[in-house]
Amino acid sequence: MHRTGALYGQFKTLEQQKDSASLGMWIFLVTEVMFFGGIMLAYAINRHVYYHAFAMGSNTLSLKLGAINTIVLLASSFTMAMGVWSAQTGKQKLLPIFLTLTILLGFIFFGIKYVEYAQKFHHHLVPGPSFDISYCVNNPSKCDDINPEELEVEANLIKQAKAAEPNLNSHAQLYFSTYFGMTGLHALHMVIGVGLLFWLLLGSLKGRFTPEWNTPVDIVGLYWHFVDIVWIYLFPLLYLIDRHK
C-alpha cells in the first residue's frame, strides 16, 4: 500500500488510521489479559491449595527490592505519560528526554530484577533437581547476603510451614515455578517495550511526531502502562502473601 506522508494507503483519513491503531492496541491488550489470566489462574489455585508453601516462598523474596521496582515502574509510567503529552502538544524537544528517562527506568528495573534472580539461583530457589527451600537455613555460610537474625526468622517460618505442609519443598517449588513464569513473562514484555521505546526515540529525534500525528507514541504508551499494571498485580500476588502479620 502506498503511503502519503503519515497516511497509509488503505486508510482515507489520519483520523481513521489513528482510530484503527488504538483499537488494535486495545484488542491486543485484551489478548494480553487473557494470556496472563491463564498463569494467574494456576497461581490462584495453587496458592489456595498450598497456602503455607506459597507464603514461605513469598517470604524469601526481598520486599525492599520488590518495592523499589514498583516505584521505578510507577515513575516510568509517569515519564511515559509525559512523553505522550509532549508528543500531543508538539513539545518536540521534551519528547526524546521523556522517552530516554522511561528507557532508563526500564533498565533500572532490569538491573534490580537481575539482582533478585541471581539471589534465587545462589540460594537454590530455582525449580529443578537442586531446589531446596531450606538451603540457606542449613548452609548459612553460603548465604552470607542474608543476616543471621533474618535467617533465624526464616528457619522458624520453615519449621511452622513444614508442620502445616509436610511436602513443603516440592510445593514451594511450585511457587517458584509460578514466580519465574510470571515475572519472566513480565520481563519479556518489558524487553519488547524498551525495544519499542528505542524505536520511538529514533523517530522523535527525527521529529516525526507532531500534534497532528503521534499515534505510535500513543499506542506504545498504552502498552507500557499495561505492562506496569501487570507488575502492580504481580507485586502483591508474589511478594505480599504473608506480610500482613
Binding site: M1, Y8, G9, Q10, F11, K12, Q16, D19, S20, L23, G24, I27, F28, V30, T31, E32, M34, F35, F36, G37, G38, I39, L41, A42, I45, N46, V49, Y50, A53, P127, G128, P129, N167, S170, H171, Q173, L174, S177, T178, F180, G181
Partner: protein
C-alpha cells in the same frame, strides 16, 4: 447477458511479478493465496496420516503399523488438521481475501501485520513439521499432562512450541479482522448491511482473541515443564493435571467454533445466492453467530465429565452445552426457511451447502448425546465422539470451506471451474464422507474406544466400511485440488459476477485490482436484497413471490 465477459488487463495477480513480490506482499488477496498454498500442504500432510490410520484399522490386529507408530499417526493427524488446517482455513484464506472486498475497503487495517501472521504461521508450522520428522508425537492432539510433559518419548517440545507460535498467527488475524470490520467499512455499509460472512468472522475473531492467548500460555507452561522441569501440571510435584485440561479446553472447545462459525458464514452467502432470495431472519443469524461465540466459552468442561468434577458443575456445563444448540438451530432453521419459495439452482457451491446442512445437523444433534451426562458416560472416548466431531469439522467446516472455495474461485482467479466435474466431486465427497464416518457412530455406540490400535474382530465390518469410505473421500479431495488448479489457468473467463450474487465483492472485476475498487463504493442496499438491485441484471419481480424466474440462464 449476451456480452462475453472479458478478463481484466491489470489485476492483483499480474500487478507485479517475481518471488519477492509474493513473499513481501502486503496485499490481503495475495496473502490469502499464500495461506491457500500452505494450508493445503498441511491438509495433505494430515490427510496422509488419516489414510495410515484407516489402512491400519482394516484388520482387527492391525498389521500395518506398530502400536507406537499408530499413536503417532492419530496424534499428528489431529495436530496437522486442527491447528494447521481447520483453524486457519476459512478465516485466513477466504476471510482474508473477502472481508475487505465485502465491506468495500482497500485492504485490512494492518496489511503488514497480516503478512507477519502468515510468517508466524509458517515458523510455527516448521517447528511442528520438525517434530513430525524427528520422532513424531504420540500424546494425542490434546497434549494431556503428565504424559506430554514427563512420560512421552516423542518430540513433544518442538510441536508444542510450534503450536504456541502458530497461535499468535491466529490472534493477529483475529485482531486485524476486528479492527478492519470496525473502522474500514465503506460509506453506507452499516453493521446490519454487512454480509453474514463478515458477521461470522467478527464472532470468530472474538473467539480467536479471547481463547488463543489462554492455550498459548497453557502450552507455554507445558513446554517449560517439559524443558525445564517446572511443575504446574505435574502431580509428582504437587501440580494439577486437571488444571491443564481446564485451561486447554477453555480454548480448544471455543476453537471448534473458530472452525465452524466461518463455515456458517459461507453457507449464509451460498444459500441466498442460489435460492435467489433474501436470507430469512438476517438479524437473528447475525446475533446467533455472536451467541455461539459467547456461549461457546462457557461449555468447556463437557470434555471432562469423567474427570471426577463435581456433579453440580457437570450439570451446569451440560445445561450450557445444550444452550449452544439454540443459536445453531436458529441458523439451520433460517437457512432452511430461506430455501422455501426460493428459486433454487444446484450449482456446485449449493451442493456443498446442502451437504453442510445435512451433515451439520447430524453432527450437531449427536453433540447433544455427548453433552448429556448420562449418555456421555457410555459413549465418552469412543468412536461415537470421533464420528461426531468429524461430522462437524469435515462435514461442516470442510464442506463450507470447499463450497466457499468454489463459489469465490471465479473471484479469486477470474475463471470458472468445470461445473460438471465439480458436481461429481461434491457427490463423491458426500458419499465418501458418510461411508467413512457413519459406521463410526455405530462402532462407538457398540463400545469401540478411540485411539486404540487393535479392536475385537466383530467390529471389523464397520472398520472396513470406514476405510473404504476414506479412500473415496481421498478421491473427492484430490479432484477439486486438480481441477481448481487447472481452472485457475485455463478455465472459462468468469466475468465480474457470474452467479450473480449481491455482495460488494462481486461489483469489482474478477480477479480484482490490487486496490480492490477503482472508486470507493457507496452502499445503498440491504444484504441479499435481490429485488432492489437492477445492477445484477436479474429479471426478478418486485412482488412477494420471488423466484418465478429460473435462477440461471442455462449457458
Amino acid at each position: 447477458m449476451a456480452v462475453t465477459p472479458k478478463f481484466p488487463e491489470k489485476h492483483y495477480l499480474n500487478q507485479t511479478y517475481g518471488i519477492r513480490s509474493w513473499l513481501l506482499t502486503t496485499d490481503h488477496k495475495r496473502i490469502a493465496l499464500l495461506y491457500l498454498v500452505s494450508v493445503t500442504f498441511f491438509f495433505f500432510v494430515g490427510g496422509f496420516f488419516a489414510m495410515m490410520i484407516r489402512l491400519h484399522l482394516l484388520t482387527p490386529d492391525g498389521y500395518l503399523l506398530s502400536a507406537d507408530t499408530y499413536n503417532k499417526m492419530f496424534t499428528m493427524h489431529g495436530v496437522a488438521m486442527i491447528f494447521f488446517f481447520l483453524i486457519p482455513s476459512i478465516p485466513a484464506i477466504l476471510g482474508n481475501f473477502l472481508i475487505p472486498l465485502m465491506i468495500g475497503a482497500k485492504d485490512l487495517a494492518f496489511p503488514k501485520i497480516n503478512l507477519l501472521s502468515w510468517y508466524v504461521y509458517i515458523v510455527g508450522g516448521c517447528f511442528t513439521l520438525y517434530s513430525m520428522v524427528t520422532g513424531g508425537l504420540d500424546t494425542g492432539w490434546t497434549f494431556y499432562t503428565p504424559l506430554s510433559t514427563v512420560y512421552s518419548n516423542s518430540a513433544v517440545a518442538p510441536a508444542v512450541i510450534g503450536i504456541f507460535i502458530t497461535g499468535f498467527s491466529s490472534i493477529l488475524t483475529g485482531l486485524n479482522f476486528l479492527v478492519t470490520i470496525h473502522t474500514m467499512r465503506a460509506p453506507g455499509m452499516t453493521w446490519f448491511r454487512m454480509p453474514l460472512f463478515v458477521w461470522a468472522h467478527y464472532a470468530t475473531s472474538v473467539v480467536m482473541i479471547l481463547g488463543t492467548p489462554v492455550v498459548a500460555i497453557t502450552l507455554g507452561l507445558a513446554a517449560m515443564e517439559r524443558l525445564f522441569g517446572l511443575g504446574f501440571f505435574n502431580p509428582a510435584m504437587g501440580g494439577d493435571p486437571i488444571l491443564f485440561q481446564h485451561l486447554f479446553w477453555f480454548y480448544s472447545h471455543p476453537a471448534v467454533y473458530i472452525m465452524i462459525l466461518p463455515a456458517m458464514g459461507v453457507i449464509s452467502e451460498l444459500i441466498p445466492t442460489f435460492a435467489r432470495k433474501k436470507l430469512f431472519g438476517y438479524h437473528f443469524v447475525a446475533a446467533a453467530s455472536l451467541a455461539i461465540a459467547v456461549i461457546g466459552f462457557l461449555v468447556w468442561t463437557h470434555h471432562m465429565f469423567l474427570t471426577g468434577q463435581s456433579t453440580y458443575a457437570a450439570l451446569a456445563f451440560s445445561f450450557l452445552t445444550f444452550l449452544v444448540a439454540i443459536p445453531s438451530a436458529v441458523k439451520t432453521f433460517n437457512w432452511t426457511a430461506t430455501l422455501f419459495g426460493g428459486s433454487i439452482s444446484f450449482d456446485t457451491p449449493m451442493l456443498y451447502a446442502f451437504g453442510f446442512l445435512g451433515l451439520f445437523l447430524i453432527g450437531g444433534l449427536t453433540g447433544l448425546f455427548l453433552g448429556c451426562l448420562g449418555t456421555d458416560i457410555h459413549i465418552h472416548d469412543t468412536y461415537f465422539v470421533v464420528a461426531h466431531f468429524h461430522y462437524i469439522m469435515v462435514g461442516g467446516a470442510v464442506m463450507g470451506y470447499l463450497g466457499g472455495l468454489h463459489f469465490w474461485w471465479p473471484k479469486i482467479t477470474g475463471r470458472m471451474y468445470p461445473e460438471w466435474l465439480a458436481r461429481i466431486a461434491a457427490l463423491i465427497l458426500f458419499v465418501g464422507f458418510n461411508l467413512t464416518f457413519f459406521p463410526q457412530f455405530v462402532l462407538g455406540y457398540l463400545g469401540m474406544p478411540r485411539r486404540y490400535h487393535v479392536y475385537p474382530p466383530e467390529f471389523q465390518v464397520y472398520n472396513v466400511m470406514s476405510t473404504a469410505g476414506a479412500s473415496i473421500l481421498a478421491i473427492g479431495y484430490l479432484l477439486p485440488m486438480i481441477y481448481l488448479t487447472w481452472a485457475a489457468f485455463f478455465g472459462k473467463v468468469a466475468g465480474d459476477n457470474p452467479w450473480p450474487a449481491t455482495g460488494l465483492e462481486w461489483k469489482t472485476p474478477s480477479p480484482p485490482p490490487t486496490e480492490n475498487f477503482e472508486v470507493t463504493p457507496v452502499v445503498t442496499w440491504e444484504a441479499y436484497d435481490f429485488h432492489n438491485r437492477p445492477d445484477l441484471g436479474l429479471d426478478v419481480p418486485t412482488g412477494h413471490h420471488p423466484g418465478v424466474v429460473p435462477a440461471h440462464g442455462h449457458d
